[in-house]
Structures are given as structure tokens and as C-alpha cells.
């Protein structure tokens, strides 16, 4: 029973991580590419970590909660790095398919 649950979690995790990476390769401009690794991968890694916590809690005695830490650090760092990448891209005025903000707004131009 637990094996089936674990396999399902690992499979789901792998699929989402794969889709996230696929997005990185397949989407067309820098900003949309950012979305793949920050979102789909979050759930993917989440599933893998839940599977890991379950496996070690069942196999060894006592609960294994290392994984909570990984999740925590991931949730703190992933958005920050995405934010910095986006900021850097705005600053460099990267070619983008996204319509830019109107003039006179608080445009990234005066960064």
C-alpha cells in the first residue's frame, strides 16, 4: 500500500519537474521561461520531498523531518532568485514578447 503511494508521489514529482524543465526549453521569451522553474518545479520537488519523508519515517524509527527544511529553504529562495532574474532582465531591457508598460507609468526604465 505504502509502496503504491510512494511510487505515485515520485512519479507525479518527476512529471512536474520534467514539465517545468520543458517549459524552460519550450517557451519563447525570458520572462515566460521564468515561470516554468518557479511553479511546476515547486510542486514536483514538493512531491518528491513528501515521498522521501514518508519513506524514511516508515523505514526507520521516528519521523524524518529533514525534508521540511528543504521545502522551507526552497520556498524562500526560489521566488527571490526569480525576482532577481526578472529585475535584471528588466534592467537590461531584454527582448520580450510581453507588451511593455506604458510611458509615464512607473516604468522599469528609471531603475
Amino acid at each position: 500500500m505504502i509502496d503504491i503511494l510512494l511510487s505515485l508521489l515520485i512519479l507525479t514529482g518527476a512529471i512536474f519537474t520534467f514539465i517545468g524543465s520543458l517549459g524552460l526549453a519550450r517557451l519563447r521569451d525570458f520572462y515566460t521561461r521564468l515561470h516554468g522553474p518557479t511553479k511546476a518545479t515547486t510542486l514536483g520537488v514538493g512531491c518528491l520531498l513528501i515521498a522521501s519523508a514518508l519513506f524514511f519515517s516508515v523505514r526507520d524509527e521516528g519521523v524524518s523531518l529533514h525534508e521540511v527544511l528543504v521545502t522551507l529553504f526552497l520556498f524562500i529562495t526560489a521566488p527571490v532568485s526569480a525576482h532577481l532574474l526578472a529585475k535584471a532582465a528588466l534592467h537590461l531591457k531584454l527582448r520580450s514578447l510581453t507588451p511593455t508598460l506604458k510611458e509615464g507609468d512607473d516604468t522599469p526604465a528609471h531603475l
Binding site: 517557451l27 521569451d29 515547486t42 514538493g46 524562500i76 510581453t98 512607473d106 522599469p108
Partner: protein, 164 residues
């Protein structure tokens, strides 16, 4: 009291973090964790000018619940958009005017936006009044801004900034 224990919340979180890190619950590690939890905020207190206060713990729990649901929702949405193909995406930059004033609340909002459906926070204006957000696919920018404000900003305002 204030000088000896500058950030009680930080102390507790650091102690818990330490216990998770060593992955065992023994008396020695609880003491060590508590010691670290006291020492680190004490040594770094110049970097934390403002006291962190959670005014509504229940609202925080509720917010975390929404946060987890939205991460799952966001992952499915983005996965679907990637699989459907890049040609039909309608990416856009939107500006979210902020009512939040404290740095902690603003950074939590930006973090939440980046982890939830189809949006990445891209830039905070110098006066901290506007957050520029990139969205991967939107039909209605105004609805998106309204959703961000109502779903994430309002609870954060309540948790961290509302006066009692």
C-alpha cells in the same frame, strides 16, 4: 527584557530550525537550539530594526492554507500552459499598487506572488508603493490585480500591520 531577548519569534523559529536540522529530539539539542536561537538574534539585532509582530495568528494559519492550495493550483496551471504550447500565451506586466508599508509584509507578498498561479514579481518601485508583476497568461489585467490585492495583500495587511 527587550534588550536580552530582542526577537522572541525569531528565537523560537531558529530553535525549531536547529531541531529539524539535526533531525532528532533530545534534551541536549533542545538546549543547544534554544541557545543558538537566543544568541543569533542577539548578535544580529542591529540588522532587525523593527519588531516582528503577528497580530492575528489565526489569519496567518488561514493565509498559509490558501498559500499551499495556490501553489498546487499554480503548478497545475503553469504545467498545462507549457504543455498547451507557447503560441497561445498572453503574457503581460501589471502594476499592483501597494497598501502594505512594512518591508516584511511587502517581501512576503512578493514571495507569495512568485510562488502562486502564473505570476512572478519582477520589480518593486523605489518608493515601495508599486509592485511590478509579470504574468504568463492573462485576459484581464485588472481582475488579476484585484485578485492579488484581495487574496494576498488584504490578509497580510491584517496579519502584520493592522492596529489592534
Amino acid at each position: 527584557m527587550r534588550r536580552l531577548l530582542p526577537h522572541p519569534l525569531l528565537t523560537v523559529s531558529l530553535a525549531i530550525l536547529w531541531l529539524l536540522l539535526v533531525n532528532q529530539l533530545s534534551a541536549g539539542h533542545v538546549v543547544l537550539g534554544a541557545l543558538l536561537g537566543w544568541l543569533i538574534p542577539f548578535a544580529t539585532s542591529p540588522f532587525w530594526p523593527e519588531q516582528i509582530r503577528i497580530r492575528h495568528p489565526l489569519a496567518l494559519m488561514h493565509y498559509l492554507g490558501i498559500f499551499v492550495i495556490d501553489i498546487v493550483r499554480g503548478s497545475f496551471l503553469v504545467a498545462w500552459l507549457i504543455l498547451r504550447g507557447p503560441a497561445r500565451l498572453r503574457p503581460a506586466f501589471v502594476q499592483v499598487p501597494l497598501v502594505l508599508r512594512t518591508d516584511l509584509a511587502i517581501s512576503l507578498l512578493a514571495n507569495t506572488i512568485s510562488l502562486t498561479p502564473g505570476t512572478v514579481s519582477a520589480h518593486l518601485a523605489a518608493d515601495k508603493r508599486t509592485l511590478i508583476v509579470h504574468t504568463i497568461d492573462t485576459g484581464d489585467a485588472e481582475a488579476l490585480v484585484a485578485e492579488i490585492k484581495q487574496r494576498y495583500e488584504a490578509p497580510l495587511k491584517k496579519i502584520f500591520e493592522e492596529e489592534d
